[in-house]
């Protein structure tokens, strides 16, 4: 009996307004023992992790989406409400709610806290960001606040190492033994009152508990926002940041990519010497190392892209960019709230589509989901980089711009413009839409959060390489190696293989857009995920060339075998083609309808085919 109780860790949930530092605190509590879970069939990405207190009690910690109110207006807010109230499908209410309030923004955050208190569930208040109070000259009487609220209050600094110590100590005290929770008894003046006077109540609490040492000095926001939100300067700053971001993806990543490529080549050579000549060596060297290795090389680019996006997100800049772009997004018929999901789609459409949960307006949300795959995700980078490397000369234009970087930039722009046109076509009529977006306080991104975020991305990417891409590479290797050509046959072994035959069957469909049968093979396996196509081309040509250095040899091989028109056509194809099963799966999950998935697939493939066709014909005309 007791053993049963002891086996089960208590569940605690972090709740609070957006921008109260909840996630930083969550990272403090759980460290790297966290997982980002996408529960199947549910439209939510939740983080959960484990915390082991100094006394050895184990707790499961949930990080819930931030919300201003239990009256939810968007799907992510509804999740928080349902979990807090114990109405979440197949999940009991958390044993303890930890309401995080930012000490710097008590006036806003206390309101939600009072609303939560009325639920009457076990609750602890965490006064976060107390380190900034000093700077603002504000003093908060914590014991007084505690007696006013009638629940325990502890102070934390989510962004500092060991900043959550007070909370962990309290949790330890509250749990005399594993699985048992004792709320400390306070002479509670618990307020279960009319919510219409919640704001008065908040004002009263602030009057009694908060004192100001000195009049407020000029805030950082005052100075920065004058520039950052300025109609002209703001746009210049935004374009500059985005431009640097794209340049960084190419130039900063290069040394790391060279290093990775080098070690993969060495691994290939090492393995070739260890394994005797035969099918097994082919499988490992051509299939696994040739296929998956080609994709792993692009990890640094992906991480740098994520580093930028995470840093912009953490610093509080992203909502401001959304503010600046809101009127332009309005031209496309979308709200500024669509900006953040679309920007994260540059990293990957999957989190981007999940981020659309913050859009209250249903039609806006659907349109944003439909155009999110048009944002150039990081999985396209390997393909773009490969083709650009093979066909665009590495020279500078007007002295400063690198031609390869410029072409990449153009590809991104084409995707964005297409997305806007599609959105414009899908959205007619001007219904009223929400914006109501908080512009949070600026702060330096914490290194710990950045590293954790990057680590999670790297893990997701590598596990994809390790699972989908390796297995597809192996299948592809098998398909392209067997059956072996009959003795005395002419032509390469590949043309006799199954993959070669399938490729040849598809050629009539794709020859109008200039694709040869090798590309057709890559496209089929690349249906699962875009970057697989690069691995696939690597495997296909590796078998033909029997080389270890796949990507290195692939570039000259491609530029020798393909015409410029074919290369451009393939680039155009990849701007549009929905070659990513995870995106389609997430669209299904988020919209709950297969119809949306079908619409996405059909319209994107149609666009891809038309664009590739036009590009192929036009380039063909110009090149004679």
């Amino acid at each position: 009996m007791v053993g049963d109780v002891m086996a089960k860790p208590l569940r605690i949930a972090l709740v609070g307004n957006p921008n109260c530092g909840k996630t930083a605190l969550f990272n403090q509590l759980t460290g790297s023992r966290q997982k980002v879970a996408n529960y199947a069939g549910v439209t939510v990405e939740r983080k959960s992790g484990y915390l082991v207190t100094p006394h050895g009690r184990k707790l499961q910690v949930l990080d819930l989406p931030g919300t201003y109110s239990l009256l939810a207006t968007s799907p992510d807010e509804a999740v928080t409400r349902d979990v807090c109230m114990g109405r979440y499908k197949g999940e009991p209410a958390p044993d303890l709610l930890i309401c995080v309030v930012a000490a710097t923004n008590l006036r806003l955050h206390l309101r939600f806290l009072l609303e939560l208190l009325q639920l009457g569930r076990p609750l602890v208040v965490v006064l976060n960001m107390v380190d900034v109070l000093e700077k603002y000259g504000i003093r908060i009487d914590v014991p007084r606040l505690q007696s006013e609220l009638g629940v325990p209050v502890v102070t934390t600094v989510g962004v500092r190492n060991g900043g959550a110590k007070n909370l962990i100590t309290l949790l330890d005290e509250m749990m005399p033994q594993q699985g048992v929770l004792h709320l400390p008894k306070l002479n509670s003046s618990v307020i279960l009152e009319n919510s219409s006077c919640v704001h008065d109540r908040v004002r009263k609490i602030l009057e009694t508990c908060v004192t100001r040492d000195r009049p407020l000095a000029v805030k950082l926001e005052d100075v920065l926002d004058r520039w950052v939100l300025h109609p002209i300067w703001g746009m210049i700053i935004l374009s500059f940041l985005l431009f640097i971001m794209f340049q960084a993806v190419f130039s900063w990543a290069q040394p790391f990519m060279d290093m990775l490529q080098d070690s993969i080549n060495r691994l290939g050579i090492l393995v070739s010497t260890l394994i005797p000549e035969g099918p097994l060596r082919g499988l490992v060297v051509d299939g696994v190392i040739g296929g998956a290795g080609t994709v792993v090389v692009f990890l640094p680019q992906i991480l740098i892209l994520f580093l930028w996006i995470l840093a912009l997100e953490e610093s509080g800049y992203l909502p401001r960019a959304a503010f600046l772009l809101d009127c332009f997004m309005g031209c496309a018929g979308l709200g500024g709230r669509s900006f953040i999901p679309l920007l994260s789609s540059f990293a990957c459409a999957v989190p981007g589509i999940m981020a659309t949960r913050t859009i209250q307006h249903t039609r806006d949300r659907i349109v944003t989901i439909l155009i999110a795959p048009l944002m150039t995700c990081s999985a396209r980078l390997p393909i773009y980089a490969l083709l650009i490397g093979a066909f665009i000369p590495n020279k500078s234009v007007i002295g400063v711009f690198n031609l390869q970087g410029l072409v990449l930039f153009v590809l991104y722009i084409v995707g964005i413009l297409s997305a806007f046109i599609v959105a414009r076509l899908l959205k007619k009529g001007g219904e009223e839409r929400f914006l109501l977006m908080e512009l949070p306080h600026y702060h330096w991104p914490s290194l710990r959060n950045l590293l954790l975020g990057l680590w999670q991305r790297a893990k997701i990417f590598l596990s994809r390489v390790g699972t989908i891409i390796v297995s597809l590479s192996i299948i592809l290797w098998a398909l392209s190696s067997f059956p072996a050509p009959p003795s005395g046959s002419t032509g390469t072994a590949l043309e006799w293989s199954l993959a070669g035959r399938i490729g040849h069957i598809l050629v009539p469909i794709f020859s109008p857009i200039g694709f040869n049968w090798q590309i057709c093979v890559a496209l089929i396996v690349g249906l699962a995920a875009r970057e697989v196509a690069v691995g696939a081309l690597g495997t296909v040509y590796a078998i033909a060339a029997s080389e270890n250095d796949i990507s290195g040899s692939l570039i000259p091989l491609l530029s020798a075998q393909w015409g410029l028109a074919t290369a451009f056509s393939l680039l155009a194809w990849y701007v549009y083609a929905p070659q990513c099963l995870s995106t389609l799966a997430v669209i299904r999950r988020e919209t709950g309808s297969w119809r949306m998935v079908m619409i996405t697939v059909v319209y994107l493939f149609a666009l891809a085919y038309i664009a590739a066709f036009l590009v192929y014909r036009i380039t063909g005309l110009f090149m004679g």
């Binding site: 926002d225 109501l436 949070p440």
Partner: protein, 109 residues
Amino acid sequence: MCFRQVFLKKRHIPVKLSTQAKSLYHEKRNEQKKPLNTLPLYHSGVVDHVEALFPQDMIAKRLEELGFVPGEPVKVIAYCPLGKDPIAVEIGFTRFALRSSEARRVILR
């Protein structure tokens, strides 16, 4: 909408702010109204009330939850590059981006 009803029924949290706002609205409807979206850049005002444009106006409700309550000072800190929609305002310690249609629900003194 149904979430809201279920929630209200179960938890007995009366949400009467909008009716309060509405009665104020009726009192003041003949007076000169000064909505937030007419406030010039870097100027301050004091919130008088939030006007619900129709019954069950979720935007008005949310504005009140965000702290646009009678007596709060509010300041315009930025306009959008193409005109005055959206605007950025500061209320209390917080800054919000509001669309002009949202800002016009906030009536100043």
